[in-house]
Structures are given as structure tokens and as C-alpha cells.
């Protein structure tokens, strides 16, 4: 233990692209104040110095894809007062959860010349499937200001205030003309958790669900509607099976649609 009285922050990485950790470093205007308020005790992407645990807050990026990682996340949980998962990989299994519908041994043979060198689990799963998680931050990548809000709330001892409405609602607030209604473009906005600022429709394309399902989404109804307006069923299945495709609501909807004859 050090004599430093600041709360200790640890940042861990599992299977991921590093983009959500980078979101923390992208808090350029706030970073130096943040590191004044907390002690960065473990953050390998940013620092070689490691302060031993236990830690007050553990931020966890990435999904669980190896048996070693199953053990590692349990050890991290034991060492952390609050465990917060950051991003689509940690909260839903991420894009690499596409393996969950396929034969991972075939994947290994496809990518690697010597499959025997590779050890991996058959599934990519969210952190919450392995240990208790205190707070989940959605997004692929996370919104850095949401990360700041959660850390500030924890430091001040209040509940984080993050909106829970849909991307669709955010478009209305932004004044973006609905691309599904006006142009027939497939969009997951009505069932996707807000947080990105509804950027995809504002850039003239459909939401691809990277913040995951909102609370109580009706993904089946949206899927059926998209097929009705002429979006090929296969495209709707794949749209649901994206960066948060293994989240319960999106998974159930894509599997149900797949069972329906086209």
C-alpha cells in the first residue's frame, strides 16, 4: 500500500481492440484533472508503473475468450471494490462473439497454419457472465464523457446519470429526418441504447446497434417491420448480429428471424 489517499484506478484488457481504453486517453481536456483525482494504479497501455491492489475501481475492457481469462477476471473481481465494464466487448461479447454461432475449430483452421498452437474457448462472452459487475458502460467504442460521468459519480458517491432512451429518440431531439421512413434504410435506432449521439442517421446511414439493446426493446417487431419494407431477411439477421449481436435481445431476435422462412 502507498500513502497516496486518492482512490486507486485499474484498467484491464481482455479480447478487444483497445478502443475503449483509448477513449480514456482521448479525454484530452480532462485527463490531467482526472489523474489528479485518482491514482492510476494499473493501466498498461498508458504506464509501466504498477501499484499493487486492492483497487477502488477496476475498468474492464474486452470479452472472455480463453480459460486463462476466466481465472483472471475472477482475480480482478476479488481485488476491486467496484468493477465497471467498458464497451460492447465487455458488456455483450463484442464482434468476436460471432464465433458463438459457428464452429470455432473451423475458425482456427481458417486463420492459423498450425491450429495446435492456438488455445481459445468456443465462445466470446461478456464479463457479467463470469463475475458480478457493478456498472456497465455500453458502446463500440464507449462515449468518453459517459466514462467521465461514471468515474466522477463514483468519486463523489452518487449514482451515475446516464440516459436510457433509444437512438431513435436521440434523432428526434437532434432533428434528423428518419432514414428508415424517408429512405427505406434499415436502422436499429428504435431498439438501440442511446449514448453515441445518434451519429449514424445524421451521417445518412442506419444505426448498427453498437451501444447494444436499450431497456425492454421490441427487436422482433423492428425486425419484422424491416423485412416488410423490403430489407432482405439475411441483411436484417446480420444487422442484429453485429458489435452487440450476442446481447440477449438482439440474439433472440436474430435467431427467431433466422428460423422464419424468408
Amino acid at each position: 500500500m502507498t500513502s497516496d489517499a486518492r482512490p486507486k484506478l485499474a484498467v484491464y484488457k481482455f479480447a478487444s481492440c483497445d478502443g475503449c481504453q483509448l477513449a480514456l486517453l482521448n479525454l484530452e481536456n480532462e485527463l490531467l484533472s482526472l489523474v489528479g483525482a485518482v491514482e492510476i494504479a494499473y493501466f498498461l497501455e498508458a504506464s509501466s508503473a504498477v501499484v499493487p491492489g486492492p483497487y477502488d475501481v477496476a475498468l474492464v475492457e474486452g470479452s472472455v475468450t480463453t480459460s486463462e481469462d476466466v481465472e483472471r477476471i475472477r482475480a480482478i473481481r476479488k481485488d476491486a471494490k467496484y468493477l465497471i465494464t467498458i464497451g460492447a466487448c465487455a458488456t455483450t461479447g463484442g464482434i468476436q462473439a460471432l464465433r458463438n454461432w459457428k464452429d470455432v475449430d473451423e475458425f482456427i483452421r481458417y486463420v492459423y497454419a498450425t491450429p495446435a498452437y492456438i488455445h481459445t474457448l468456443k465462445t466470446s462472452t461478456p464479463i457479467s457472465q463470469h463475475v458480478a459487475v457493478d456498472y456497465e458502460l455500453n458502446g463500440c467504442p464507449i462515449n468518453k464523457f459517459q466514462a467521465l460521468e461514471v468515474l466522477t459519480a463514483l468519486l463523489q458517491g452518487h449514482t451515475p446519470h446516464l440516459p436510457a432512451h433509444s437512438v431513435c429518440m436521440e434523432c428526434k431531439r437532434r432533428g434528423t429526418v428518419c432514414i428508415t421512413v424517408a429512405q427505406g434504410i434499415a436502422c436499429l435506432g428504435p431498439v438501440t441504447h442511446t449514448g453515441c449521439g445518434a451519429i449514424c442517421p445524421a451521417y445518412n446511414r442506419g444505426c448498427y446497434g453498437c451501444f447494444g439493446p436499450m431497456e425492454e426493446p421490441n427487436a422482433d417487431a423492428l425486425a419484422t417491420y424491416l423485412v416488410t419494407i423490403g430489407v432482405p431477411q439475411r441483411h436484417v439477421v446480420q444487422l442484429l448480429r453485429g458489435f452487440t449481436g450476442y446481447a440477449d435481445a438482439f440474439r433472440a431476435a436474430s435467431e427467431k428471424l433466422e428460423r422464419t422462412a424468408p
Partner: protein, 440 residues
């Protein structure tokens, strides 16, 4: 060197082990086995878990590919978007218009700026100045760290305007952009970009004045090259030893091998099976005549003789490229007119296409085969860090004998500093670093 040590085992076994390399993107370690001053074995252990992008891309619709491959790397998503759209456009036979081509260069400028500023100041400068992190460095060098964060932020702001957000921007599609930026939104960035250009030139002076270890291996440098401009998006792949191939012939010149200690594939030259070097140092060495005027001036005035074979001077090459990226971004924005059409229409057809573009860390090669429904049938991705691994191991073999008389923590640190010259991105290449030194 004690010739008997190996057979008698009289000398104690020593190992240097860096369990987790820090200030790199992704996870890996380093293992070194040494006998006296002879290095017996060097292995970069890449234990970043595989995510199988090439496997699950099969069956996906081509327009999803730039969004999906962006997720290979949170530091350089634009590079993945660029290589994938160019490869898919080659497969479709789509020609993009000059306005889209220029906007793609502008997007790449944004990524080079944020990635280079991050690497120069936050990941590498602490090595030269003897700190564990930029955060620790900030106590003694507050002005430099603040300047670094602003330099980086301007790159991110540019990505934000062009792509909606800095990490995994959403505007890139096969054919062009879902939406072209508004002239007024880009114009607002000009004062910051002008500041950034001057701050980058100051950065070149700062890093060129650092003390570089005397280490100059005989490298083969490889980069994309274009007859009229500094390499980013296209043309041919060239080397300092005479390689000059179209992207379609990349795999005839460069091979990938799978080694036991790594979930990353290692690239080598076809034929000679020797290692090669990609990244900013390779680009500046091979293309410095194509740098923008002030970047060229900064390269000539900084006191380093080009071409440079000292990997530690890669930090200077990176700073020169940051000048270039700021300068080119300003030139593009000053001349920018909103295009009538932000994307080319195309007809689906079966085909195969390859592309190589310059990610911040070096050549990024993609090849796809698609069917007549626009679904991916085959995908191959060769990231820059995978191309540099074999070269990093060769560097370590040459560098270690000169530092083996130091203490183990010092050896570990020296090795990490050497490896960080390459700005390795392990997330990208996993398909990276713990140091373990065995001394016999």
C-alpha cells in the same frame, strides 16, 4: 564467452522476462535466453487472444466490412476502413472520384495526427526522458504533456467532423462516404490546424535533440509509394532492396508464417525469408522527396541524415509525418468544395481485390473475394505490426549483446524501449509483450 558453459551447465541460468509490455497497444511479453554475452533465443510472446476476423467476415455483406475491420484496432480504425474499401472497390471495379480520394487522405491525416501524437508523447517520450508514463512525466514537463494532448485532440476533432466520432468513425463506405463534411465545419478547424502545424515542427526539433543509442541494423525498408504524393492510400509497394509490386502481387513478395509462441502471424520476404521494416521510418526513408514543403524542410533542418537506419530515430520520422499530416490537412481544407456526390454507385459482381494503405504503423494489406451477392467469400488481412515482429526479434538479437552486462530490470527496460520504436499494436496483429531472460 565461455565455450564450456552450455555443455557443463557451470554458469547459472539467467532469464530476463518482461511479463507484460506496457505502453503498447494490446498484450504481449518478451522472452530472452542468454549464455554469457551470447543471445541464444529471443521470442516476442504474443498472447493477445485471437478474435478470428478473417473467419467471421465470410458471409458478411461487403458494405459491413469497413465497419467490422475497424474493430481490429481502436488506435487506427481508419487504416482498416481504408484498406478494406480500396480492396473491395478493386474487386467491384469501382473508380472513386478525385474529391472522395482527397477526403480519404484528409481522414487519414486525422488518424496519423492522433496516433502519432499519442505514440510520440504518451507512449515513447517517457522512455527517452526516463519516466514510467506521460502522467508521471507531466509533473516535470507539464507544458510538453499539455501540448501533446492538444496535438492529439486536434487529430481527433478532424476525425470527429469527417466521421462522427474519433474512434470507429461511421462515415466510410465502399464507394466513398455516407456523407461528405460541410465546408463550414472543416473551416472551423483551421486555427487549430495552423497551431498544430507549428507545434509539430517544434516537436520535430524536440525529438531530434534526444539522445539515440548507436544502433543501425541493415534493414530492408518497405512502404507504399505513389509517383506524385506521400504514401497513404494507394499505388505500389516498394522496398529499399528493389521490391516494386502492385497490391495484387503483395503476397508474391511477402509471406506470413505461424510460430508457436505467438497468436500473431509473422511476415517475411518471400525467397530470402528475411525480416523487413514497415512504418514511419520506412516511409520517410523511401518517400521523403514527396513530403509537404514544411515537413521536408523540418526533415532537412533537424540534423538527422536521411535515410536513417537507427530505429530509435523512428520517433523523429513520426514527428516529421505529423508535420506533413497537419500541413496536408490544411491544404485540403483550404481548397475544399463540397462534392456533388459523396459516393460512387456500383453494381454487385463477383470478384477479387487487394489493397495496401499506410496505417500509422506501416503497410496494411487486405485481400477479399466476394460473390455476385456482395457477400465475402475470402478475407486476408496483414497488419503492419505482424510485418514488423520478425524484424523486432532480429533487432533484439543484435541489440541485446550490448546491454547484457546491465542489471535485469535495466535490460528489460532497454528491450522494451527498442520494441516501442515500432509502436507495436498487438490488438491489430493478433493474430504481443512479456520479457523473460534466461541466462545460462
Amino acid at each position: 564467452m565461455n565455450q564450456n558453459a552450455e555443455s557443463s551447465g557451470a554458469l547459472p541460468l539467467r532469464t530476463v522476462k518482461v511479463d507484460y509490455l506496457s505502453r503498447v497497444e494490446g498484450e504481449g511479453g518478451l522472452y530472452v535466453r542468454a549464455e554469457g554475452n551470447q543471445v541464444r533465443e529471443v521470442k516476442l510472446n504474443i498472447f493477445e487472444p485471437p478474435r478470428f476476423f478473417e473467419a467471421f467476415l465470410r458471409g458478411r455483406y461487403l458494405q459491413e466490412v469497413p465497419d467490422i475491420t475497424a474493430r481490429i484496432c481502436g488506435i487506427c480504425p481508419v487504416a482498416y476502413q481504408m484498406s478494406s474499401v480500396h480492396a473491395l472497390e478493386a474487386a467491384l471495379g469501382v473508380k472513386i472520384n478525385p474529391a472522395i480520394r482527397t477526403l480519404r487522405r484528409l481522414l487519414y491525416c486525422g488518424e496519423w495526427i492522433e496516433s502519432h501524437a499519442l505514440h510520440i508523447y504518451l507512449l515513447q517520450l517517457p522512455d527517452f526522458l526516463g519516466y514510467d508514463s506521460a502522467i508521471a512525466m507531466a509533473a516535470d514537463y507539464p507544458k510538453e504533456v499539455e501540448l501533446a494532448l492538444r496535438l492529439k485532440k486536434i487529430g481527433n476533432d478532424l476525425l470527429d467532423v469527417l466521421g462522427g466520432r474519433a474512434t470507429h468513425p461511421v462515415s466510410v463506405c465502399v464507394g466513398g462516404f455516407y456523407k461528405a463534411p460541410r465546408r463550414k465545419d472543416l473551416q472551423k478547424l483551421i486555427p487549430d490546424l495552423e497551431w498544430g502545424l507549428e507545434a509539430s515542427i517544434a516537436t520535430v526539433r524536440l525529438v531530434a535533440g534526444l539522445k539515440f543509442p548507436d544502433f543501425t541494423p541493415d534493414y530492408e525498408f518497405v512502404s507504399v509509394a505513389h509517383p506524385a504524393e506521400y504514401p497513404m492510400n494507394e499505388y505500389r509497394i516498394v522496398s529499399s532492396r528493389g521490391v516494386d509490386v502492385a497490391p495484387a502481387d503483395f503476397e508474391s513478395a511477402f509471406l506470413e508464417e505461424h510460430v508457436e509462441h505467438s497468436t500473431a502471424l509473422h511476415s517475411r520476404r518471400a525467397g530470402t525469408t528475411t525480416s523487413y521494416f514497415v512504418g514511419p521510418l520506412a516511409r520517410v526513408n523511401l518517400n521523403r522527396e514527396k513530403l509537404m514543403p514544411r515537413a521536408k524542410e523540418a526533415a532537412l533542418a533537424c540534423g538527422i541524415t536521411w535515410p536513417s537506419r537507427n530505429p530509435f530515430q523512428g520517433v523523429v520520422a513520426r514527428a516529421i509525418e505529423m508535420v506533413h499530416a497537419y500541413e496536408e490537412a490544411l491544404a485540403i481544407i483550404n481548397a475544399y468544395e463540397e462534392p456533388a456526390k459523396s459516393r460512387e454507385d456500383f453494381k454487385l459482381r463477383a470478384g477479387e481485390g487487394s489493397a495496401a494503405t499506410e496505417a500509422p504503423r506501416g503497410v496494411l494489406y487486405h485481400r477479399y473475394r466476394i460473390n455476385d451477392q456482395g457477400l465475402v467469400e475470402f478475407a486476408k488481412i496483414v497488419p503492419p505490426t505482424a510485418q514488423n515482429y520478425a524484424r523486432m526479434e532480429d533487432d533484439l538479437r543484435q541489440y541485446l549483446p550490448g546491454v547484457l552486462d546491465r542489471t535485469e530490470p535495466e535490460i528489460a527496460r532497454a528491450c522494451e524501449n527498442l520494441v516501442r520504436n515500432y509502436d507495436p499494436c498487438i490488438s491489430c496483429s493478433t493474430h504481443f509483450l512479456k520479457l523473460k531472460l534466461d541466462r545460462e
